[in-house]
């Protein structure tokens, strides 16, 4: 297991360092996207973005970046590996394919932490915002990422079968933006609680936001976040296993 972690970490770091332009262009794109939205919104509305809570806006963007990376990486990797002709070799290693791609998802986020920190620092600099990170936010942040990996496995499952995840990711990135903004988890009523438990990431994002803002968090939100995390991850693992088996049955693992 340690060997698997080390192998994936080294591969990712080597590729990122050897081809820095890929990493840098990604960082610049994410930075420019926020700056464009930020100044664009301020210019159009002629009023402060985020109702004066710029720190929340930057934090939301940072969480969205991490969620996007965690959700999309496995699917992109499967598409690229199928295109480059290495996917079948990956499927030949004596590890469960679920574990291999989950580890890849985790390592991708680990490798993205430094670029992400640089982007956030840049955003804080241009917006003159600042926020204080509290250790208590680590748990909901971990829940956000673990759930996003579960969602990533769902995307990767489709990637195994159809190999093209680009169109799907364009839709998912807006859905993720929606779950950051929509306050589903704090809506009253059993029906909304059930929705918050089933719509990936809604409760986790609310939990993270409330804890960082010093708002008292109800037990419902914690419960929703935990159930949501468990449901998404288990569904992701189950679906990926099923997709792996289906792809092998159809003989399309190496197809692109």
């Amino acid at each position: 297991m340690i060997g698997l972690l080390i192998a994936e970490w080294r591969r990712m770091v080597v590729e990122a360092v050897r081809y820095p332009l890929d990493t840098i262009s990604g960082m610049v794109t994410l930075f420019m996207l926020f700056v464009g939205l930020f100044y664009g919104a301020r210019y159009i509305t002629q009023s402060p973005v985020g109702g004066g809570r710029l720190d929340t806006v930057v934090l939301g963007y940072a969480v969205w970046m991490l969620m996007m990376a965690a959700t999309s990486d496995m699917g992109w990797q499967i598409q690229n590996e199928a295109q480059n002709g290495t996917l079948e070799q990956v499927m030949l290693v004596p590890w469960s394919s679920r574990l291999v791609f989950l580890v890849r998802g985790v390592m991708a986020i680990a490798a993205f932490l430094v670029p992400c920190a640089v982007i956030i620092a840049g955003l804080l600099a241009v917006t003159h915002a600042h926020f204080v990170w509290t250790p208590v936010a680590l748990v909901p942040m971990a829940l956000v990422l673990a759930t996003a990996w579960g969602l990533g496995l769902l995307v990767a499952s489709l990637g195994l079968l159809i190999k093209r995840v680009g169109q799907m990711m364009q839709i998912i990135q807006f859905l993720l933006l929606f779950v950051i903004i929509a306050p589903i988890a704090v809506l009253a009523g059993i029906g909304w609680h059930v929705v918050a438990m089933l719509v990936p990431l809604t409760a986790q994002v609310t939990l993270l936001r409330d804890l960082l803002n010093g708002v008292s968090v109800s037990h419902w939100v914690w419960l929703e976040a935990l159930v949501n995390f468990a449901v998404t991850l288990i569904a992701g693992l189950a679906l990926f296993g099923g997709a792996d088996r289906l792809a092998r049955r159809r003989g399309i693992l190496g197809h692109y």
């Binding site: 080294r10 591969r11 590729e15 290495t86 190496g254």
Partner: protein, 346 residues
């Protein structure tokens, strides 16, 4: 420190590759396509089995089912008696594969980085992977290319590195799908040399190729598949002997004299050209050729050659025969020796 295969230590200690009654039907919009139908064969440790067939015959599907990349509808794959689908990870750890049409490697990583990555992914320690990578690169003559990225290597070198990655964990079974396709003479020879060495060391090698000379040179056994069915299987030497004709050809250094046909009267020999003649040895008891030579004396001769079939001729003949057979019943004509012909189903 010797490099060990940890999964080997966990249970499977080598042994033969057994493919048992594999079948696969692909369902497409145009209907069901029976890709592989009841294919069985065995590759013993130290043996090279050449698995031959025309395009679309089911070779790659069979090799991918053997690797576990395609799930069969029926049948089993066993290594050392252990079923692939019962203990997938343990059996996979005993398999190495170089797949045709795949790069098998990360082109942005160096040769050494690739080998260390694949070795570690196959449960070697980093130190063991590094040591094994050095050993293999030395063996294929690419030690001086260890720091080059794979994309900068020639096709032949890339194929050698792909072979090395498949060998990192010292697999008991090696699956090679067109390993010498598109390689120049020198690279092809290098790959063949390594395959021979691996077989000598006890690796069971399943080789598919369209290069029949390569198959003939490397294989101990040969199996031929057509339309998803095995139509011939046997020891390569037996197969070649079975398809060789009992005919000798004699080539003269100068044209035969006009009365040569008369001189050969009563013997099973016939002039076939201005300077060639053939001798039928079907009923030969050892003296026919000498009797013919006595009649030819003192005409100068260039060479005497007994007909020896090569795999290309066998392939052509078998595939021609099989075209009429595979659609119907299951004719199995066993000849002398261990050659199984017809629709070989078990």
């Amino acid at each position: 420190m010797p490099v060990t295969n940890e999964m080997g230590a966990a249970g499977i200690q080598g042994g033969a590759l057994e493919v048992v009654d594999l079948s696969k039907v692909f369902h497409t919009r145009t209907g069901a396509i029976p890709a592989v139908q009841g294919v069985s064969f065995r590759v013993a440790p130290g043996e090279v089995l050449a698995f031959l067939g025309p395009n679309g015959a089911g070779k790659t599907t069979t090799i991918k089912m053997t690797a576990g990349l395609v799930l069969p509808d029926a049948g089993d794959v066993r290594v050392g008696g252990v079923s692939l689908w019962a203990r997938h990870d343990a059996v996979t750890a005993q398999l190495g594969a170089v797949l045709e049409g795949s790069r098998n490697l990360y082109w942005r990583l160096t040769v050494r980085e690739n080998l260390e990555y694949w070795g570690t992914m196959r449960r070697l320690s980093i130190r063991a992977a590094r040591q094994r990578a050095d050993e293999l690169l030395e063996r294929v003559g690419l030690a001086d290319r260890a720091r080059n990225t794979v994309q900068t290597l020639s096709r032949g070198m890339q194929q050698k590195v792909a072979l090395c990655q498949a060998l990192m964990h010292r697999p008991h079974v090696l699956l090679l799908d067109e390993p010498t396709l598109g390689l120049d003479f020198e690279s092809g020879e290098g790959i063949k040399r390594v395959v021979r060495q691996l077989a000598q060391e006890g690796t069971a090698v399943l080789l598919t190729t369209h290069q029949l000379d390569v198959a003939q040179e490397l294989s101990d056994r040969v199996a031929m598949i057509r339309s998803g069915r095995l139509v011939l299987e046997g020891a390569t030497a037996d197969v070649l002997a079975r398809y060789s004709q009992p005919v000798a050809t004699i080539v003269a250094a100068t044209p035969w004299p006009a009365d040569m046909a008369m001189r050969l009267a009563g013997l099973p020999a016939a002039v076939t050209g201005v300077d060639t003649l053939s001798v039928d040895l079907a009923d030969d008891r050892g003296s026919t050729l000498y009797q013919v030579l006595a009649r030819l004396n003192p005409h100068p001769l260039l060479k005497i050659e007994r007909h020896q079939a090569d795999l290309a001729q066998v392939f052509q003949e078998v595939m021609g025969d099989a075209a009429g057979e595979v659609g119907g019943a299951t004719p199995v004509a066993l000849s002398a020796g261990s050659v199984r012909e017809g629709a070989v189903t078990s």
